[in-house]
Symmetry: C2
Subunit: 250 residues, 2 copies
């Protein structure tokens, strides 16, 4: 993947809930890796108000987003995390330009998004509108099959993609170089390791290629600098993935 100079691209305005990594973090990592000129609007003065106005349909340009994250750039409003990445990646130099590669990347990203949603639903199995404390018993039940069956199934699938690519001497999820999907694989690993440290310690024993990819992503200069900066928010129990010890494996 050839890196395009980001100076010629219009500024990207990212809108997402301030204070958490959440789904917005998949987009942030791509923008940071590309060194793209972007604003994290809801973290700027007046930014939350602007985000809510767009969500309420008060912005005449583009399609009204259903939920954050969304980006505004070059007159477009783009929502749905995976679609934001798909749309921005060519100009960020984070996906090969051919159609088959773009489809493969989006397919993997959508599956990582499904995993992120399931990970969220473990601590909110009854309703996103109720507190964790009001669905704690149910969450504990939900966590069992999630750590036992679902995480290994999703991450095992990613591992199998890396295994196949290794046969062609490639060490990334799509093609020969880093794409936004590798950054997202790092991010979901980061969240799962925070939320379910004991389960992940067990599961990762069978994922040598994915663990190595995670480490390679974390060591990239721009990503390492970002992770050490105040822009990278720590995980917390307000986030999409949450650490409640009672939901982890014994």
């Amino acid at each position: 993947v050839k890196k395009k100079t980001t100076k010629t691209t219009p500024r990207i305005d990212l809108y997402y809930w301030p204070g958490i990594q959440g789904r917005g973090e998949f987009v942030r990592l791509a923008l940071e890796e590309a060194g793209a000129p972007y604003r994290d609007v809801a973290r700027t003065p007046g930014g939350m108000k602007a985000m809510m106005a767009t969500l309420e349909g008060k912005d005449a340009r583009g399609l009204r987003p259903f939920a954050p994250p969304f980006v505004k750039t070059g007159g477009l409003v783009i929502a749905q995390t995976s679609l934001v990445l798909h749309a921005l990646a060519p100009r960020l130099g984070l996906v090969p330009e051919d159609e088959a590669s773009r489809l493969a990347a989006l397919q993997i990203q959508l599956t990582i998004a499904d995993l992120a949603m399931e990970a969220h639903d473990v601590h909110h199995p009854i309703s996103g509108g109720l507190y964790y404390e009001d669905q704690k018993t149910e969450a504990k039940r939900a966590s069992r099959s999630f750590t036992k069956e679902r995480i290994p199934k999703f991450l095992g699938w990613l591992e199998s993609l890396l295994e196949r690519n290794r046969a062609s001497k490639h060490q990334y999820l799509v093609g020969r170089s880093l794409t936004y999907v590798d950054l997202s694989a790092f991010e979901i690993m980061s969240g799962l390791e925070y939320a379910f440290p004991r389960a992940m310690k067990r599961i990762e024993k069978k994922l040598p290629l994915l663990v190595a990819l995670r480490d390679r992503v974390a060591a990239r200069p721009r990503i390492a600098a970002y992770l050490a900066s105040p822009r990278r928010l720590p995980w917390s129990t307000d986030d999409l993935l949450r650490h409640y010890p009672e939901l982890d494996e014994a």
Copy 2:
């Protein structure tokens, strides 16, 4: 949207669980509306075996799918329902060709897919690996906020998109003509009306444009013929959306 002649397109092989509408139905409706040459492989002799082999990674071509539905066509293997539609729609004549329209359509489709997933999780809030009977109490709790808050929020958003388009004298979700997204809006309405008839009767009072769109889709000659055919499977309690009277509103 100009209809392309489907005779020049290679055959599309759809792989999905036989016996249910599920996520595969979003793809089936697009193929039926376009009059595309397709095979519903898992409903043919030996088809289930072929589907499982691809899911297990025994097919060297293309990316190994994480889950059905997926399609094989022209050497590509494409999974993730919304991505299948995004990739096939230009040649089926079911999306305008400009990038902004394609992004808008996929954004709406992904949001409908989120709604479909939430609707599924209402009857399986704890785990997809357990029977409904083993999570019935939890499902009943989950159904309350789903019918009260989530369905109105999702469908109200679709209604607001139709309202905005009506200002430009357009009566579809994207652009001037029918797209795959309109077919998917019909399908999710169909599923929700089956699963939650009492709740939907209440909710639909505030959705005149969406209800009219649903009726217009159902009346299209190819869709009407499909719905009357044995290819259209009836909804059932084995499906993605399920009718359990105890989960509907009182």
